[in-house]
Symmetry: C2
Subunit: 235 residues, 2 copies
DNA sequence: GTCTATATGTTGATAGAC
DNA sequence: GTCTATCAACATATAGAC
């Protein structure tokens, strides 16, 4: 997995690639691969072919380096969302957009690997996702083990409830449902960092999530829409 | 935030609470609060009122301690799922369960704080969620900052597409959509640890996710179901 | 601006007495 | 089984030469 440490960057502020930008690129690369905690400043400076002190001169702390690196990449990501949104609005003319169109603009960049984004194998979405799921490899493995049996049990159950669906689709549905529930339950466990103003009805959180997931599963494979469409193909 | 270090444990293998179990309880508590990386063995042993060597004697490594602690808690979580499933099947009699019923059994424990589970303020779901979103506080803050503007923009857009919906509901919908997309995109970025057998059609991943989320949002607040129901109240 | 060298603290894990 | 004492490796951060 050897690769030339510096080739070219689409973020270069000046003509040539200075140390600061090399550090930002290296930070994006290694943060994306290993997450925040598991990444050491030494690894980043080594990747950028510079020294530990240079990094501290430019950024002060590891946290500030992450902040700037993330900002640089996320800007590309979010600009892309706005571009997609504008494109849809232009095509729609006077009509208002459907929620499908809005969500498509919002979610599509997660699934794209635009060549002008990818730098040393890393795309902006890769970093964002990595920071969301910032667990060491071992944790992911143990967690997966702990839920293998129960998930298999529930896939079997879903197969009974939805006879026409393939098991791998239902596996995926269960994974998506877990993702939804986790995000829905975050502030139930007071792990949210924003002021939970609690204007949302807490009591109906479970019911809403169940409805959300069940409707989503049916929409994906039980609806009129089977297989790939032409959505997003003109990107 | 002082609390008596040892009160009682529902996991006691023997009559009294030995060092090994105290370590497991302390591990669950601190792993749940801080995640894996940010938790030191010293913090766990201090909480358990024992020494670092005792932990290493019983578990060998920090990873093994996490594995065993997680297994112990997850068993309660998954047993609860099975109980709920059995209850629904019993009530259904001969009829097969709906997917709503299946997902309800699967997801409900995420939102429960059963008194017999909670030990020193930690429930099994709390640990599972923490391990999913195992980021340091700083990372969560920076990530949130980076997406504040764009999220506000898309909430505005959704308000236009769904005039009757409240903005806080749409904020929540966007968060859930992000959760879905992240989980759906994980193996797009080859961050999945299981052998991605790629029998799932990769090309339609985005379209399925968009449909999933859009249908989910409508089902939660556009469907016949508004506000709290009696689902799960008899738990 | 960038480097070498170092300060200071923490980590997970181990050795050996009891 | 549990402890004290210690290890080597790693972390972030800084001082000062150039």
């Amino acid at each position: 997995m050897t690769l030339s440490p510096v080739e070219e960057s689409e973020f270069g502020v000046s003509g040539c690639l200075d140390t600061k930008q090399r550090l930002l690129d290296a930070a994006v690369k290694i943060f994306s691969e290993k997450g925040f905690h598991a990444t050491s400043m030494r690894a980043i400076t080594q990747e950028a072919q510079t020294s530990l002190s240079a990094a501290n001169y430019h950024f002060g702390t590891k946290e500030e380096l992450l902040r700037l690196a993330l900002q640089q990449r996320v800007k590309l990501f979010n600009d892309r969302r706005l571009t997609l949104l504008q494109k849809s609005k232009k095509e729609a003319g006077e009509a208002t957009l459907s929620i499908e169109q809005v969500f498509e603009a919002y979610l599509q960049p997660f699934f794209e690997r635009r060549t002008e984004w990818v730098f040393q194998g890393v795309s902006p979405a890769g970093l964002a996702i990595r920071l969301y799921l910032d667990m060491p490899e071992f944790v992911a493995r143990v967690r997966k083990e702990a839920f293998t049996v129960i998930n298999h049990r529930f896939v079997t159950e879903l197969e009974e409830a939805l006879p026409g669906f393939s098991s791998c689709v239902l596996e995926e549905a269960l994974q998506l449902g877990t993702g939804v529930a986790i995000h829905a339950a975050i502030d139930v466990f007071e792990m949210n960092l924003n002021a939970s103003d609690e204007k949302k009805r807490a009591g109906s959180r479970l019911e809403n999530t169940v409805r959300f997931v069940a409707a989503g599963v049916c929409a994906v494979n039980g609806g009129p829409f089977i297989g790939p469409s032409d959505l997003g193909e003109n990107s």
